[in-house]
């Protein structure tokens, strides 16, 4: 039997007997993400839906100055409330999402045929209030336009003279692509899963083995160190791929509990996604296992390795954030960059978009190459004398 296989089987057996590692790989790693996600999205969505369907409470200051406007708003299912003494303060302290203020000279301007001003007081940075603000704006705009049209008709003009240009919106987003923007963070959970699943193994097979003083006897066996490393990396990769697979399955189940159809969205984490997702993730898991092992081999102790690997966990968040903040058109070369390629490919899979075979192969091959380079560098570290000696 090949020595790498012997090492792989032994590490597998030993680590499967470690309850903490198993729980990390099979439970915490894959389930944390989906659970967090379902709770978050459900709360967000149900709040949005509630607001859209229910009558909106609208505090109004000076309602008595514009009874017609108030009637029109009531027809639009606004629940008119007496206004607070200080509109600005009420909004700033989040007692109200938006306050409508009608000045005393409203009626006078209206009767003169001059533009009558009303004020809406709101806080743009308050995300939660945005839909309420938009509803108030739309309702008042609509009232203004209807009144304007009536005035034109009364003077014998067609209301269309006021609208030389009309905009008709043709939204090209599909249900899948709309879910894509919302679920753009999903690939990060899979990459994070790979890192969490491999972490315990990467530490245990290097810094841990050295600290337990079992590395020196192991290296006294007639086996090239590169093969020992290959076996250990294979175990780490296997654990991290297991975490990714379970994490994808968990998301697949979780996505059924999301009220996506209410938002007119469509999210498919089915067999197709599973296969293509695992295909692009496999070389990345190998690459990350190599990086984790390299870092752990440099560390002087188990504790130090844990600290460094904890920091390494944040690295994949960088492309995720960049891709979320700066939306751009995915170009072919981007698939060649490990992490970025996976990020783009997974996002497109989730949105139900096609990724060309060429791009997929490019992504796979380039990440595999990077993984091989990391393996070569790590095996150099593995050959150093310093590695085995604990004291």
């Amino acid at each position: 039997m090949n020595s790498a296989v012997i090492v792989f089987l032994k590490e597998l057996r030993e680590n499967l007997r470690d309850r903490r590692t198993v729980i990390n790989t099979l439970v915490t790693g894959p389930l944390m993400g989906p659970l967090l996600f379902v709770v978050l999205i459900n709360t967000m969505v149900s709040r949005e839906l509630e607001k859209a369907e229910q009558p909106l409470k609208l505090p109004v200051i000076g309602a008595e100055h514009a009874p017609n406007l108030i009637d029109a708003l009531k027809q639009q299912r606004f629940d008119i409330q007496p206004g607070p003494a200080n509109a600005e303060r009420a909004v700033r302290e989040q007692d109200a999402d938006v306050v409508l203020r009608i000045p005393a000279d409203y009626a006078e301007s209206w009767n003169k045929g001059e533009p009558a001003q009303v004020e809406i007081v709101f806080d743009e940075s308050q995300r939660d209030a945005q839909s309420a603000v938009r509803r108030v704006q739309a309702a008042i705009d609509g009232y203004g336009q209807r009144t304007g049209a009536m005035r034109l008709l009364a003077r014998g003009l067609s209301p269309s003279v006021m609208r030389p240009v009309v905009v008709a919106e043709r939204d090209q987003s599909t249900p899948q692509s709309r879910s894509g923007t919302m679920f753009g963070i999903l690939p990060y959970f899979f990459i994070l899963g790979a890192l969490i699943g491999g972490m315990a193994l990467a530490i245990d097979t290097t810094a841990g083995e050295r600290e337990r003083q079992s590395l020196e006897p192991l290296l006294a066996n007639p086996v090239p160190r590169g093969q020992i490393l290959a076996g250990k990396l294979a175990t780490t990769t296997a654990f991290s791929m297991t975490t990714v697979l379970l994490s994808m399955l968990a998301f697949s189940v979780a996505s059924r509990f999301l009220p996506t159809e209410k938002l007119g969205m469509d999210l498919h984490i089915g067999m197709g996604f599973l296969f293509s997702g695992l295909f692009v993730m496999l070389p990345l898991a190998g690459l990350l296992a190599g990086l984790q092992t390299m870092v752990a081999a440099f560390a002087k102790s188990y504790r130090e390795a844990q600290t460094w690997l904890g920091l390494l966990t944040f690295v994949p968040a960088i492309p995720t954030m960049l891709l979320t903040i700066l939306p751009f058109k995915p170009l072919t070369w981007m698939y060649a960059v490990p992490l970025m390629g996976q990020q783009i490919a997974l996002t497109r899979f989730l949105r139900g978009e096609v990724v060309t075979t060429q791009a997929l192969v490019l992504c796979f091959v380039c990440t595999t190459l990077a993984a091989l380079i990391v393996y070569v560098v790590t095996s150099r570290i593995y050959r150093s004398e310093r590695l085995a000696i604990s004291a």
């Binding site: 090492v7 003083q213 020196e216 006897p217 066996n221 004398e385």
Partner: protein, 248 residues
């Protein structure tokens, strides 16, 4: 047979430079027990690490059964059974699984591993612990398991770094008996120690190391004659020029 020729090994550089081994030279023959005796920090462990190719000497040559460690380290490791200073076990594997892992890495088949493990478990009197996970083993039980796994491939040459370190009186006696058994089987046994009585009781040949150099390479009797001291401990102190690091 193990031959060490003019071995040199230095760590670090500049002000922090430490000369660990400075021209060590000796031969350990088959059917004999050779003791590497020296105070702590004399360079015993570094010399042994160069022997089992964990470290590469800066200069000098190591030959095991005539094979040069620099040209064919794998063959040398195959010809050696090693109990290093570090003797950690895999605590989530049983003693038997620990032994079998090293057997597999030596390329042995399952049947051979089985017979060898059984023989070693009997010889080291560890039947009661063989199928227990090694977590929570006593120091003596750990050393026994480590020896069994080091010898699973039936090596002609056996290297042990301070084998009785941390053992109680009974375990130490058992260890000495075991070393004698290895010798009677015609193996070349090389072990390091800083304990005078142990070396005196066991060795056919004593190589005394101090500050990285060999200061004597004789039989116990010849050593006494050379230094003119009837007591070996006095002979030892006289050789290394200080009683620093000497433990009884």
């Amino acid at each position: 047979m193990i031959e060490v020729r003019n071995l040199h090994k230095t760590f670090g550089s500049g002000a922090k430079k430490v000369i660990a081994v400075d021209g060590v030279h000796f031969i350990a023959r088959d059917g004999e027990i050779t003791g590497l005796l020296g105070p702590n920090g004399a360079g015993k462990t570094t010399t042994l690490r160069c022997l089992y190719t964990l470290m590469q000497p800066d200069s000098g040559q190591v030959l095991v059964d005539g094979i040069d460690a620099a040209t064919d380290p794998l063959a040398v490791r195959r010809a050696l059974g090693v109990l290093p200073d570090a003797r950690g076990l895999y605590k989530r594997l049983t003693a038997r699984e620990n032994i079998a892992y090293f057997g597999q890495l030596h390329g042995l088949d399952a049947a051979t591993i089985r017979t060898r493990s059984d023989a070693a478990i009997r010889a080291l009197e560890m039947d009661d612990i063989a199928d227990r996970r090694t977590e929570g083993f006593s120091q003596g039980q750990r050393v026994k398991t480590a020896i069994a796994r080091a010898l699973v491939h039936d090596p002609k040459n056996v290297i042990l770094d301070e084998p009785t370190n941390g053992l109680d009186v009974m375990a130490t006696r058992a260890m000495r008996a075991f070393l004698k058994q290895l010798k009677s089987e015609g193996r070349c046994v090389l072990f390091s120690s800083h304990i005078m009585q142990e070396v005196a009781a066991l060795c056919d040949r004593i190589v005394v190391i101090a500050r990285g150099r060999v200061v004597a390479d004789e039989s116990p009797d010849a050593l006494r004659a050379q230094t003119g001291e009837a007591n070996l401990e006095d002979a030892f102190v006289k050789l290394i020029g200080t009683d620093e690091g000497l433990a009884a």
